[in-house]
Amino acid sequence: MSERAKAGLDGKTTQDGRQRWKDGALADSLSRYSRRRETFQTISGLPIADIYTPEDVAEVDFERDIGYPGEYPFTRGVHATMYRGRLWTIRQVAGFGTAEDTNRRYKYLLAHGETGLSTDFDLPTLLGRDSDHPFARAEVGKIGVAIDTLRDAEILWDGIPLDEISASMTITAPAAVLIAMYEAVAARQGVTGSQITGTAQNDILKEYTAQNEYIFPPEPAVQLVVDTMEYCARTMPRFNPVSVSGYHIREAGATAAQELAFTLAAGFTYAREAVRRGLDIDFVAPRISFFFDLHIDFFEEIAKLRAARRMWARMMREKLAARDPRSWKLRTHCQTAGVSLTAQQIENNIVRTTIEAMAGVLGGTQSLHTNSMDEAYQIPSEKAIKIAVRTQQIIAAESGLADVVDPLAGSYYVESLTNRLEEEAWDLLRQIEDVGGMIRAVDIGWVQRQIADSSYTFQRQVESGERAIIGVNEYVEEESGELSPDLFFQVDPEVTERQIARLNQVRAQRDDRAVRSALSEVRHAAANGRNVMPAISEAVRAYASIGEICDVLREVFGEYRAPAIY
């Protein structure tokens, strides 16, 4: 580093100048106009100063803390060329109705330039219930696609080459079943295990704290995650069996630092449990991927992603002694914040989503979902989802944001915010260890309590007007509350009947003896602490349903009952 550059980052040399500015220009200005507010804070409540100077980054060591993209600690990105080499994957999550409905939506998205797929499942599927379960009937195909057996999965990915187009599945509690279905469909397409790409969300810990789609208690559920990690590393080494998700934690009301800490703690827990099982950290860690939220506070989100990469690299290398650089890299998908969307004046959501998507790109995400303007109400309409895809294409092609790597590095504000978030997150991680680790912290509701407190604080700020939301507490307009006809979307009301009819047809046609024997093998493996994946794979190929497989696991693992914390 040249002497001049060194002087520029050295806080002491500018201290006098900053004091002079405070006493002079700033004092002068404040004597005439006061600040708009007494204090400024990020959306997570971190204080924001008037300006940031070299003083604020005096502790930063360029080589150690910022460095170069594609190199440890990856603050600037996981690839050396980032988007100058390959753009991020445009991956819109989609799912509704039956497998046919969702397959049609995939083809629409791919025709409009989407480059990866992602599946949302309906509530019965997410909770491991068949569509004809009494509790399921009101929910079939509503918030995602209904999948009961391998037959549905075959239709879902029909005509989609699973070696070329990576598909992601937003599934967690019964992820083992869906991973087995995915593998079976790929095999039918003639795609071999080593060619299969894709991702399962499969991050169970955040279900207890935020998303609430759990089935089994945390201990066996985490072991099930490790089963899939081990199985996929052996049979489909390019497949990401876990996408550790901060998204839902943030959407449930957490701050950026809480999102960071609780997500990294979960990822660390899966990796450490795998090591405890005797697996080499470098066998499983390279395929752990992540999923973060992109909230509306632009700089805080960029800082969050940079801090996440730096922290994960250090956790893997220093705490779990990973040696393979691929184990140190935090690869992530991002989605713009559903909670930032408003049901009022929905066109404004296009603007919010654009700002959030820009933060994702400047933060170095590997793939991105941009929300559609009508998602505060419904499954997105075709018109709205096309605008969302176009938003990413405009950022990629026109804005110049994708043409340079980590342009905000060295910004006094962004670097100091990155450090600040990292410090706060390390502090939370220490508290989690003090409580007895993440599984325990989740089990006793410690994490849930933290999130509920942040969520309530934010709501009070919105209601008091302290936090402005355009169209909600400022610039409010009288609205009809009805969507324009070209934005109206409705799931076919006949979907439940059609789905149950197909399930019954599969049950009538399959070999029941093969199903019974496969299910008994699943029970055996689960009860004896063996990896359940080979048995689940057999059961899926025999057309056992997701409800049947999960019922067997319920018998062995039990069901989780959550403490009601608010």
Binding site: F135, A138, E251, Y456, Q459, G481, P563, I565, Y566
Partner: protein, 136 residues
């Protein structure tokens, strides 16, 4: 208004989106009510049973999965069948405007959509309680 109001806040069905329900539960508690939050994954029968057991004045259900018509109909019917038609039945969530009339026909007194202030809900309940007291 001397009697402390008792409210059950419930999440019927499989929908896990509980941020709103928890905020409302806390706001009602902060407003001096006794709140019983059922947690998620409740059947309609279990919710009405809780209202009965807890001798609640108010039942608020929160649904964001699109299954509001199904559950409002079921819970409204069960309330009447259990002789609980006096209970103030409220619903919160993302509900299309064209469904509001139908929900009211099922027995829902008021629907609170996105952007509702918790103060609004508290005030609505207080007005209802005051009117109930006056009617004796």
């Amino acid at each position: 208004m001397n009697k402390i109001l008792r409210a059950v806040v419930a999440k019927p069905g499989m929908d896990g989106h509980d941020r709103g329900a928890k905020i409302v539960a806390r706001a009602l508690r902060d407003a001096g009510m006794e709140v019983i939050y059922t947690g998620i994954f409740q059947t309609s029968e279990a919710i009405v049973e809780t209202v009965l057991q807890e001798d609640a004045d108010i039942l608020g259900i929160s649904i964001l999965s699109g299954a509001h018509l199904h559950y409002a109909e079921e819970i409204g019917r069960l309330l009447r069948e259990s002789g609980l038609e006096e209970v103030l039945f409220l619903l919160g969530g993302t509900v299309p405007k064209e469904h509001v009339e139908q929900l009211k026909a099922y027995g829902v007194a008021e629907v609170f959509g996105p952007g509702t202030h918790t103060d609004e809900i508290v005030q609505y309940i207080r007005n209802w309680a005051a009117a109930r007291e006056k009617d004796g």
